[in-house]
Amino acid sequence: MLFSRTVTLSLVEMQKLRADYTELFTRMAQPVLWLLVFGQIFNRIRAIPTGNLTYLEYLTPGILAQSALFIAIFLGIQIIWDRDAGILTKVMVTPTPRAAIVLAKAFSAGVRGLAPVVVLVPVALLLGVSITVNPLKLLGAAVALMLGAGFFACLSMAIAGVAQTRDRLMGIGQLMTMPLFFASNALYPIDLMPGWLKVISTVNPLTYLVNALRGLLVGAPADLWVDFGVLVVAALVGIVGSASLLGRLVR
């Protein structure tokens, strides 16, 4: 039942996305700006030690992970919107497991998280970044992105269950985004961080998403089993946590 309901609700999410592509296009712009402006400048400064990789090579997977985070962390607003519009209530009165509602939203966050790849990868190639063309590695990167986006979407939905309103969720989301982003290895190696930040970075799933993307896309050294293991466990915890808090939204 969980699988069939998840497929049904995911289909609805895709139908909604198909009805209005605007969101996908707007999502593509910001990561490209990060690469073109921030990336090019820091590539020239050569201030950040990135081993055998150029800074642009180092940064590209980080920007992909960042865009997935930025998209997913506000997904809870959608579920609050669904609640306010009465749609969530109606779905919760059908024989649908709450985990299926959360999984479908996480899937839609994953698809949205993949959208920037379409523009970012060609731009990165034009800037001289050597990204793999191995279809298995590309598929692996897509799975990692979807798992990461799924986790952050679940985190956002769990916060929605507590925050209850869109305004509060926006505030909390903004409060969390920057620490999650800067306390990861998306822009710079963990070795450069002070001890306390290293600890935060080590428990931050974004770090493992970046590691996996770097290993798969630009051939950086990576322990993919650990990276995917952390992402899968984080996603599972996120699904269970947000599903258990979902009921609070309709009370």
Binding site: R5, T8, K16, A85, T94
Partner: protein
């Protein structure tokens, strides 16, 4: 509480009723929204739950449709304990909430198909059942239009199509005609009655419109401050008051004094609030 011309509402008896609440209590913090409610709805009835805002109608509905937990008392839907068998209860329900709630970006057909899938309507029957539900609500001609382009009345009918696509045993309508113009209201009710005649389902509805309840319900329950004040057929309840009595009169008799006190208290509160605001503003 007894039903004029009917069986006692407080005492469950006979075979499994469509809905049976015993001693239901629901609190939101200090506020008691539903206060020891005993209710029995027989299979096939159109049952109206009436009362002013804050009477506890929506809370009662939210408990029976599993959105709110049963804090105290028992609730059974077709003999199934809502607390223990929530999923089985949901399979038997069709639910239309107060607010108009459809996916505006999807077509009418997609909106109904979505619920057909959620209710496990077999794949082979799905398209036919969706078309049937849309046709019954007179929406087949506009089924492939985005639901966002529908009028309020059409959206309500689309919601009914969503709720009816699984042929529910119990259709729960929470103020289904609020905000609709008289023609749209009439349209909604014609179709609910038609579906009831076709499928013999039980209908539980809440409404503010006493005339609507009078005309459509087999049994009505008047609720005020979380408690039932009267239960019975509209005709029997009216007859208890007098020959020309309306359901409004019945309601005034059972809750009128309380309503007046509530309004008076509200008035005093409003004055106090205004004075406080005035003081803050200097």
């Amino acid at each position: 509480m007894t039903r004029p011309g009917g069986s006692p509402a407080a005492v469950p008896e006979g075979p499994a009723a469509a809905l049976e609440c015993t001693g239901l209590v629901h609190r939101f913090g200090e506020t008691v929204a539903v206060d020891h409610l005993d209710l029995r709805i027989e299979t096939g009835e159109v049952f109206g739950l009436l009362g002013p805002n804050g009477a506890g109608k929506t809370t009662t509905i939210r408990v029976l449709n599993t959105l709110l937990p049963v804090q105290e008392g028992t609730v059974r839907v077709f003999g199934l304990d809502v607390r223990r068998r929530a999923t089985d209860v949901r399979r038997r329900l069709g639910y239309v909430p107060q607010q108009l709630s459809i996916e505006a970006a999807l077509t009418g057909r997609q909106n109904v198909m979505w619920f057909a899938r959620l209710f496990d309507v077999p794949r082979a029957e799905r398209a036919t059942r969706v078309d049937e539900a849309l046709d019954a609500m007179d929406l087949l001609a506009v089924a492939d239009r985005k639901a966002g382009t529908y009028s309020g009345g059409m959206i309500r009918r689309l919601e009914l199509a969503q709720a009816l696509v699984n042929h529910p045993a119990l259709l729960v309508l929470d103020e289904p005609t609020v905000g609709l113009d008289p023609i749209a209201r009439e349209g909604v009710w014609e179709r609910v009655q038609q579906m009831r005649a076709d499928y013999g389902m039980t209908v539980l509805l809440t409404t503010h419109y006493m005339d609507e309840a009078d005309e459509l319900c087999d049994v009505v329950a008047l609720m005020h401050r979380g408690r039932l004040r009267a239960v019975g057929s509209p005709a029997a309840l009216r007859a208890d008051i007098g020959p020309d009595a309306t359901l409004d009169d019945v309601f005034r008799r059972h809750a009128g004094a309380d309503l007046a006190v509530t309004e008076e208290q509200k008035g005093v509160r409003d004055v106090r609030r205004s004075r406080t605001t005035a003081r803050k503003l200097g």
